[in-house]
């Protein structure tokens, strides 16, 4: 019951000795994620102390970490100036799944990093994303572990904290998840709604999908079209930013409405026309999912 990662995924943390990296490395280890090592240039040879007496070796480079630990996934918590290179370093070392939590990476850096990852056959989740949690299996990123629970719902979102809000309501209502994926709010996400929908459709256990979108871009419209053509399980949607004034940037690079393209109204319409039921409030997602599952 998972997509992209599971309890056997061997994870390294890039930036493991930093404030955020060390905090979330411990959270991931406490959740049960198989964290096999960390990377901080200049701090190779140390040992990272995790929770409950567990620990992980620290390496100077991803290549050393991968050859010593057999890691196949990585979570990146390094400052924006170095994050695009961190993605390329991971892909270069053969890491197949790279979660980039870092926010504020220059977009032109990301055009190169995404091309590099594609060339090397690595999947990037993010940047500027909360990561993925497969309840009971593993979490990579910063989604709080206690809000999720195993179950039949697959959730994918462009937002961070709004994802938590939705997952929180689902879990509180007894609706557990196969996986919750935050694809991130940047204009160039490495993994799209559609990539996640494909993974949910292929996993054989996801019984309903929740898609949380926001204003800006056309990712939700593309996802809606894919749902209509390919998805065999019901889908529920939510769009943030119905009241945002046009032409204003709302917090991160993804959430900007220029003229009529990418408005909440447009996205809501695309969802509804393609059979995705749209919740008015985050809490309403629960009832729509419950109804969908009951059908």
């Amino acid at each position: 019951m998972s997509i992209f990662v599971d309890r056997n995924t061997r994870v390294i943390v890039q930036g493991i000795t930093g404030r955020d990296g060390s905090f979330h490395a411990r959270q991931m280890m406490a959740y049960g994620t198989t964290v096999v090592g960390g990377v901080t240039p200049g701090k190779g040879g140390r040992t990272f102390e995790g929770p409950e007496g567990r620990s992980a070796p620290v390496f100077d480079t991803v290549e050393e970490a991968v050859s010593a630990t057999g890691a196949d996934a990585s979570v990146i918590y390094v400052p924006p100036a170095f994050a695009a290179d961190a993605i390329m370093e991971a892909a270069d070392a053969g890491v197949r799944f790279v979660v980039c939590v870092t926010e504020g990476i220059p977009v032109l850096d990301m055009t190169r990093a995404h091309a590099f990852a594609r060339d090397r056959g690595a999947r990037v989740l993010g940047p500027n994303c909360p990561g993925v949690i497969c309840p009971g299996e593993a979490k990579l990123g910063i989604i709080p572990g206690e809000i999720a629970a195993p179950g039949p719902v697959g959730l994918v979102s462009r937002s961070g904290t709004l994802t938590y809000e939705a997952v929180y309501h689902l879990t509180a209502a007894g609706l557990g998840q196969t996986a919750c994926v935050g694809i991130g709010g940047d204009p160039l996400p490495g993994t799209s709604f559609v990539d996640c929908l494909e993974a949910f459709a292929a996993d054989g256990v996801t019984e309903a999908v929740v898609m949380i979108g926001e204003i800006g871009g056309t990712a939700e419209q593309e996802a809606a079209a894919w749902v209509k053509r390919h998805l065999e399980v019901p889908a529920v949607g939510f769009i943030a930013g119905r009241t945002a004034p046009p032409g204003q940037r709302m917090g991160h690079a993804g959430a900007i409405v220029s003229g009529s393209a990418g408005t909440a109204a447009e996205k809501t319409q695309a969802f509804e026309e393609n059979g995705v039921r749209v919740a008015e409030r985050p809490v309403d997602i629960v009832s729509l999912v419950r109804e969908s599952l009951a059908q």
Binding site: E103, T111, T161, E165, G241, Q248, M250, H252, R281
Partner: protein, 377 residues
């Protein structure tokens, strides 16, 4: 961050482009002096961070220095789409034979820069795109190779059938791409790109938006920021690393995460209120950011109630709680405050806030409903 025409034009020139170089003036008298220095007829152009200035009367021809002074006098101080004009650019009037469009931006779908040209320049390019998509020619720029010579030639060939003009056009297009990359831009545009009477391809206008994430490594562009044109609250928010947009309602909102912040605003409206602002304190927030956020929100006299909606992930609830306590003890709060906190270090946070006498809402819906009621009380 948007650049003014004269700033974008400077970036284009640094890449070698032939532009309509002028002199910036902030007073009618300075505009007169600029026109005298340039000699001959000039064009006086409002410098504002928005399009459509021509239609609004922000671009005027002047035959003499005295006329330039009068034109500048009329343009300076005028308002275009809500923005006051504080500077004009005085530039030599070009003899225009033809007008084209050239632009480059990062395309989400292609995940790379896309360059566009159209032989229909000098008009609103979005209108052209809507009316006749075939009039706009595009090439995707593979980030691994940059704009290739044959791509620039292809685009120039869509603008000019004359060989010498096509060669000049290809050069200007390559220079536009260079300026775009070297400036860390998310968009750069020339509209119109003209052929003048001397048969030269010249950028008559210049527009550029910089990716804010690039500014840390481009101090020369950061220095182009016109802090005087910003609202004090926006300036303060930027300095504190907050995303902030002033709106017109009475419910001040302080949220972590852009999506949750927008959903919170939507919910304010759902419960019959109006948000006073969009404010995202971001991930990994320190207490200082929360202090700055509260200061900014409380400066707005329209705010009648303030809500906090925090779902801790990378943000730790205790950091937010410390910030609230510190800010309220320092500035003294005159409007009611309702708080919803959950997630990372929630228990710690509640202890801190309870000790300081704050109360909590039980959910996002609860905090919003309470704040709306308090604001309309």
């Amino acid at each position: 961050m948007d650049l003014y025409e004269y700033q974008a034009s400077e970036r284009f020139r640094a890449a070698g482009m032939r532009t309509n170089q002028g002199v910036v003036a902030e007073t009618p008298e300075a505009a007169r002096a600029a026109a005298e220095q340039i000699g001959g007829p000039v064009i006086v152009k409002a410098q504002v961070h928005t399009g459509g200035r021509g239609k609004a009367g922000g671009v005027k021809l002047a035959a003499s220095p005295a006329e330039a002074r009068d034109r500048a006098g009329a343009i300076l101080g005028m308002e275009i789409k809500g923005l006051r004009v504080r500077k004009v650019l005085v530039a030599p009037a070009e003899d225009i034979v033809s007008e084209a469009y050239a632009g480059v931006l990062v395309d989400r779908e292609a995940q790379c820069a896309v360059m566009m040209v159209s032989a229909e320049g000098g008009v609103d390019i979005e209108e052209v795109a809507a009316r006749d998509p075939g009039a706009i020619h595009k090439v995707r720029v593979d980030p691994r190779y940059g704009l290739l010579a044959h791509q620039a030639r292809f685009l120039a060939g869509r603008l000019y059938s004359d060989k010498a003009l096509a060669r000049q056009g290809a050069k200007a297009i390559a220079q536009l791409y260079d300026a775009f990359v070297e400036s860390g831009a998310s968009m750069a545009e020339i509209n119109p790109l003209v052929v003048n009477g001397a048969g030269e391809v010249v950028a008559l206008d210049a527009k550029m938006s910089i990716d804010d994430n690039e500014l840390f490594r481009l101090p020369e562009i950061e220095a182009m920021r016109d802090a005087g044109a910003e609202e004090p609250a926006s300036r303060q928010a930027r300095a504190a690393g907050l995303s902030f947009v002033k709106l017109s309602g009475a419910v001040g909102c302080c949220v972590n995460g852009a999506g949750l912040a927008m959903a919170t605003m939507d919910l304010v409206k759902y419960y019959g209120g109006e948000p006073a602002n969009f404010l995202d304190i971001g991930g990994s927030s320190s207490p200082d950011k929360v202090v700055a956020a509260l200061e900014i929100i409380t400066t707005d006299p329209d705010v009648k109630a303030i809500l906090f909606n925090i779902f801790g992930g990378i943000t730790r609830c205790d950091d937010v709680a410390k910030g609230i306590v510190e800010a309220t003890s320092r500035v003294g709060l005159e409007v009611p405050l309702v708080i919803r906190l959950t997630g990372t270090n929630e228990a710690l946070a509640k202890d801190i806030l309870a000790e300081a006498g704050f109360q909590f809402a039980s959910s996002m819906d609860d905090v919003v409903e309470k704040a709306v009621n308090l604001a309309s009380a």
